[in-house]
Each structure stands twice: as C-alpha cells, then as structure tokens.
C-alpha cells in the first residue's frame, strides 16, 4: 500500500512536466492546427539561457527567470519568423516547417555552442527530499507538482475570465468565426505561442534541474512524450492534453514499478500498446470531440 502511495506521488510529479509540455503543444495546435515539433527546443533554449547566466556568475534564481523568458521570446519569434509566412499554405507545410525549425536549432546549438552537454549545476537545496508521513518527496518533485498546479490554475483563470482567454478558447473551437468577433488572429496565435513558451520554459527548468546539463538534442524526447499525451487526451482539447500527460505518466510509472523483471524489457512497448488500446476505445482521445465543429 505504502509503495502504491509513493509511486502515485512519483507519477504525479512526472505527469506534471508531461502535462505542462502537452498543454503547450495543444495550445498551439488548437489555434493553428499545427503540432509544433520544435516545441522541445524551447526547453533547450531555457537550458542554454540558464547556462550562460550561471556562467556569468549570476544567481540561480535569475537564471531560472531568464531561462523562462528566453523560452517565451523564442516561441513568439518562431511564430513570427517561421510559421506566420506559411500559415495559409496548409498544415502539412507548417508541420514540415516545424521540423525544419527544430533541425536548424539543433545545428545552431551543435555548431555555435557545443555538441557536448554543458553542465548546469543546481543549488544543493533542490536536490534533497522531504519525508512527509513516511513518504519521500524530492524537492524537485514537490516543485514539479506545485508549479504544475499553480500554472494550471492561473491558466484556467486566464482562459475563463479574460476576454483574450475566452477568445483563445473560441479560437480553438472555430478560428474563422472567432475572427468574425473582431478578434485579431495574429494576437491569438502569438499569445498561444507565448503561453506554450512559458509552459515549456517551466517544464524545462524542472527537467534541467533533474538532469543537471543541457545538450543540443535534449528537446526531442520530451516533445515526443508530449505529443503522445496530446493525442491520448484528444487533439485540440486543452484539458485533454493535461489529462493525457498525467495518464501517460501513471502508465509509465506503474509499469516500471510493478512489472515483473522478465517483462521489464517490454515496458515501453507495453506503455505504447496501452495508449493505442485507449485510443481504440476512444479514437477521438480521452476528452476529444467526436467531430470538428466546422
């Protein structure tokens, strides 16, 4: 029983980072119909920004702030420079563009910074664990859970209460009609990218604090996981992306924790099979709409 509670805490912490990433991906998808495969590179940008700030001898807190701001700025820049010019060229073109952006960023990181990982030391207080009622909760785990809760709460308030937030939800349902409400398409899309940058930046800080280094290709795997989470939750559904992130984390942690040793080599395939099974039962995803309202 205790182990189950402990592993649940573990899954919640992991699910938090998945959820943040997936939500960012879903945010952009919902307004643009684009799965931005360069999303993971935003985490890498956060990492390098932190690295440069720390190398300059500034405190860790400043590095975190600069890292997150860098991710937001990069996301908005990506939209302005790469995606806006091809926005009307169809989703396939935009998808290819996002691959190109990702590849170009990899090359820039590898050739202008280093192909080798750069160390990103985190303060010792982040590495410890708290023992609460007999359960270990790592400080980073705790930060992950609380940052996710905080961001999801803030984002919910923004999406429910502010006109721009309501406009973003409307845009995710029917973009042309949202424009008929007098809402500026560029504004909505730019905001979606900014939010996706914020979420990727925060997820990036949490991820980087665990791994202790930044390297050019580190964004690839997280964006893959986030993509699975988004599809699992239902493409275009924001709450679905969050649910998909947590579901994926629970599946992964449960398999790694409770699978018999002989089965361990197949845990990734079993996890994917479970995801596919869920999608067979609910092809539109956990919270996806049955059909697009267009």
């Amino acid at each position: 029983m205790d182990v189950v509670v402990q592993q649940t805490v573990n899954a919640l912490a992991l699910g938090g980072t998945y959820a943040l990433l997936a939500l960012g991906l879903a945010m952009v998808f919902s307004v643009l119909g684009l799965i931005n495969f360069a999303h993971g590179e935003l985490m890498t940008v956060t990492g390098y920004a932190m690295y440069f700030v720390l190398t300059a001898g500034l405190p860790f807190e400043i590095a975190v702030l600069v890292g997150i701001v860098a991710a937001i700025a990069t996301a908005m820049l990506m939209e302005r420079v790469a995606f806006r010019p091809v926005r009307n060229a169809g989703t396939a073109t935009m998808l290819l563009t996002s691959f190109a952006v990702s590849t170009i960023l990899h090359m820039l990181f590898q050739n202008l910074i280093s192909a080798r990982p750069k160390a990103l030391p985190v303060p010792d207080w982040m590495i410890g664990a708290l023992n609460i009622a007999g359960f270990d909760i790592g400080v980073i785990q705790l930060m992950s859970i609380s940052a996710t809760a905080l961001l999801l709460f803030a984002l919910t308030v923004f999406l429910r209460r502010s006109t721009l937030g309501i406009a973003m939800r409307a845009a995710s349902l029917d973009f042309p009609v949202t424009r008929l409400m007098g809402i500026n398409a560029n504004m909505v899309i730019s905001t979606a990218f900014a939010i996706s940058g914020l979420l990727a930046g925060v997820a990036g800080v949490l991820w980087l604090a665990q791994r202790g280094s930044v390297d050019p290709l580190m964004g690839f795997l997280p964006v893959l996981k986030a993509f699975i989470a988004v599809v699992l939750g239902g493409l275009g559904s924001l709450s679905g992306a969050v649910l998909g992130g947590f579901t994926l984390a629970f599946i992964e942690v449960a398999l790694r924790a409770f699978l018999p040793d002989d089965w361990l080599p197949f845990r990734e395939s079993i996890a994917l099979a479970l995801v596919i099974l869920l999608l067979l039962v609910r092809p539109e995803g956990l919270l996806g709409r049955k059909e697009a309202i267009r």
Partner: protein, 389 residues
Amino acid sequence: MSRSNWLKTTAMTAALAGAVFASGTAAAENFKVGYAGGFTGYLAPYDQPSLKGVQLAIDEINAAGGIGGTMPIELIVKDTRSDTAQAAVVAQELVDDGVSVMIVSCDVDPAVASGVIAQAAEIPSVSSCASTPTLPAAVGPYMFSNYTADNLQATVLASYAREQGLENAYVLLSRDTPYTEKLPEYFAEVFAAMGGNVVAVGEFTIGQQDFSAEVTNIKGLDPQPDVIMTAAYEPDFPAFLKQLRAAGITAQVLGSDGIDSPTTFGLGDVAEGVVFSNAGFPSEGSPLAAYEAAYEAKYGEPNDTVFTATGYDAMLVIAAAVEAAGSTDGAAIRDAWDNLENVQVATGTMTYKGQNRVPVRVVALNQVSGGERVHVGDFTPDPSQIPAP
C-alpha cells in the same frame, strides 16, 4: 515550403562546409586518412571531440614532416549526419577518394556500416571510441578497435568493488545501446564470479528523466545494496543519482567513462564519492597532462572529454602502423597494426599484438571528491578475469 527548405538546405550546407575540409597540402606523397563520422546529429557529442583529437595529432605529426618525418597526412572528413545508411555512402566516397586508412563513427551500427565498405576495399579502419569488444570480429580482419572495451572496464570496476569489501550489488542497465546494456552485465558477471551477490538488475530507458519508480524499488530491496553500478550517462546518470540520494540511499555508486563530463563534477554533494572508470588520468608529468596542455593551446579552451584524447590516440596508432609497415598498402598496414606493441599514446600505451584487434590499454579509476577528480589508480586486469565478449 520552398522558403523553409531553402533555410534548411542553407543551414546544412553551412554546417557541412564547416566540417568537410582537408588539412595538409595535397602533394602526391601525402598519406590520405578518411574520417566518416557523425559530426551532426546524435553522435556529434562523441565524433566531434574525436575529430578534434585527430586533428591535433595530425598537426603535430605534420609539423615534424609527417609520418616517419617524410609523409604528411591529409585528412578527408565526411559527415554521416549520424545516419547509418549515410555512414555506408560516405565510406564509399572516401574509398573512391583513395584514402589508405579510415576512421569511423563512435557508435557500433554506423561503425559497422562504414567498416564493411573499408573491409571490402581492403582498407584498415578504426572506430575511435566504440567500446563494444565484438566490433572488429563483426566486420573482419581490416577493422580495429581503439577504445577501452566494455568487458575490460567492467572487470576493473567489479574488482575494485570486491576489493572495497562491497557485497551486494544493484545493477541498472538500458537495452537501448550495447554500451548501457553490456557493460553492467559484464560487471554483474565478474562481481558474481568474484563472490559478490547481485541483488537485482533494474532497467531504464535513455532519456527517461524520472527514476522515482526505480529508486522506490531499490529502497524496497532486501538486502539493501551496498554498491550500485550503471553505465548510464547524461542525462540519465545525474537524474538517477539525484533521485537516489534524495531518497536517502547512500550505497557506493560506480559509473563508467560515459559520466566523465563536467556535468558530473557540477552535481555537488550528490556526486561525492562516485567512482568511475575511464581511459586515463592526467597526473602531473603524464603524457595525458601534456596532451591536455597541447589541446588547450590549439583550441583555446580546456579539454572537457576523454574522447578527444582517444581520437588523438587513434591517429598516433595509425601513424605507428604505417611507419612499421613501411608502405601505404592496405594489407601491409593491417598486418603491421595487428602486431603493434606498447605504442606510446596520450592515455598511456596500447598493444594490439595477440589481441584480435581489440587493444589492451590501461583503465583508470577516478573518484569525485569536492567537485574534483581524484585518481584512484590505473589498472590492467588479468586476462583470465575478463569475461568473453
């Protein structure tokens, strides 16, 4: 579409133009060495540093007039983009360019892909840092290893653990690469053969970031392990270590050369006491210390990985083989290479004679102490203890 393609093409061309060049002047009696490496993509962290070491060695050799003082080396570099199919294509191009020796990628799959092309053309080839001991046998008599083999490293680590009186081992492996899978398996084999008890073997996926499930499992083990061994490297090793220590597990942690990186030394308290193996320790007055100084002089920054040094080693071995052969003929070089003994390289000495093209070289153990590297010792295990590949 056309715009993004244009960008992509331009960026790639620029990157390749940076990587493809020849050093030395193209005279008739130049000795041509080809390098088919993954200078972009996932192998760049290994092949880029190797290339830097190779270039440093060539600079030094050519400054002294070339191999044997008379034959300058010309290096032809081609990028495989870390793609196995491209590794074969690029190797064929190098054969067509008339290279006499080929250096291939650090990862086994592209190394084999390039190696079989060189083998067919009867050109000796060497992987600067692939550590799988079966690689030369998999390709054929023209393929050589350069780097410390996994089974050798594992044996040194296991002997050390037993000598420290450690009894119960937990081993964490990943089946994603031969390195992360086999090295811990060799360790478990030797550790058990030396009377130790392997309590459990855990598995991870490269890049999984979250090790909380594995750590919770380790906490539940009986008996508790007093030594934990893994060949995980960045980003997995730091994440695993942090979560392990956060859970209050204090067992001795043993790692392999993959964690020989500034990241490990930047981890702070959690890394304290970690012991890892690698290809050499730059003690005062050692050839490796001299190498590090030369590296910094050429590149303007300190060397941050042993892969530059082993690239340098590979080039020195090639030069030694050519000089011993007294010929640029592939078969002659191959035979001379296979009989090299005690070649002085940056990390120590290397011997190929009688080793089936997998060199004997020293394994150094290092300990992390106060964020610094402390030399535990250099080891050359008894061949009878090394598990068969």
